[in-house]
Symmetry: C2
Subunit: 224 residues, 2 copies
Amino acid sequence: MEQRTYNQYCATARTLDLVGERWTLLLIRELLTGPKRYGDLQTSLRGLGTGLLATRLKHLEREGLARKITLPPPARTPAYALTEAGQELGPAILALARWGLKWAMGERRETETFHPGWAVLGLRACFDPKAAGGLRAVYEFRVDDEVFHARIDDGTVEVLHGPAQHPDVTLAMSEEVFVGVTSLSRTLPQAIAAGAATATGDAEALRRLNGLFRLPSPQSRSAN
Amino acid sequence: MEQRTYNQYCATARTLDLVGERWTLLLIRELLTGPKRYGDLQTSLRGLGTGLLATRLKHLEREGLARKITLPPPARTPAYALTEAGQELGPAILALARWGLKWAMGERRETETFHPGWAVLGLRACFDPKAAGGLRAVYEFRVDDEVFHARIDDGTVEVLHGPAQHPDVTLAMSEEVFVGVTSLSRTLPQAIAAGAATATGDAEALRRLNGLFRLPSPQSRSAN
DNA sequence: CGGCATCCATTTTGATACTG
DNA sequence: CAGTATCAAAATGGATGCCG
């Protein structure tokens, strides 16, 4: 069971030794918005078989990137959460996401799965701390059945799966509309005006929402 | 020959579809400091067979991340360079490196290879733009036979393989000493005082060098 | 539901020999 | 030096089956 290694005394290579195997970074991506259950991970990651999922989770546990927890009552069911070391992979994953938003997104393909959480993470990747100066607000996103919330506190964001305690603004829309908004094919105000999205709560916080995320305009890699 | 894909409409997954295969990010890491020849890539990446190297390079070309060039005279020999899209993976790779510096480095293992360029990239990953405010200087690093230079220009760095045109400071030391300095086990002034490193050039620029890079103190992943 | 074990068809990889 | 060709070993994926 010798695990494969690049055998390089290099920070990048050492990191990839730990998280560079197939599925590993996507698994961490899933856990970035909070603990997840085994079954939910399976659902999110189509193509990752149950055997390999178990292997990967064990690996993350053994390496101190994730740990198995028991969800608080009334759930009391097992789940997986990131350790501090795991959490700190967030910036690296968001950097990959920023690159992807600019150079690799385009239209959604027929065969591709989609979960709102991925788009929420895309938003987080584009968060502009400067634009959030002096702002303290909690936004709740209800996309079909999935709920996320973003807590903005003067230049910082935190994005978690699940409802917020006291959202300042609650937004609701369909998955399709959410994809449109997070891929710049329509703006949130347009979607609201068209009745495709609803927003309730603090009007001032809602007004500031648009400027918080700087989605890059997609570029082509073909030339140059 | 369908290439494997995660089939997720997600910026992170799309990026990993392009560069998540084994060796790919390390290949890009090598090209981050300038064009490299086929043979040099083979030398740097022990364990990557020539067949796979050719496959990966073709993939990067096809996807618009790298391109084959002819080095300018008098070399006139083929080499591979990053496109703009490829260059922009730098931040993501540096984010992985920053994580590795903090959570995965420790001592060099017997089996691990090492190249000064990797440590130079580690420095770049820790560059502190604030500390470089108002500074404009070129540092040349001569580590055994390898030469790199870093061009600092008021909050920006650029690190390239090869000698600088007009270095403000030239540093020379052995690989071993360089590893020591870039892993915080000794400081550059200490190494110079001990005669293990030599520095020539502008004293003021040399004095500012130390503060430019904020190497994180290594953390253990085991607990927590 | 959560999670590990098994079996098997495909891919991916690693190592080496070989060619222009 | 820059790659191709070839083949063995390892990783993946998918389907089940099992057990608490």
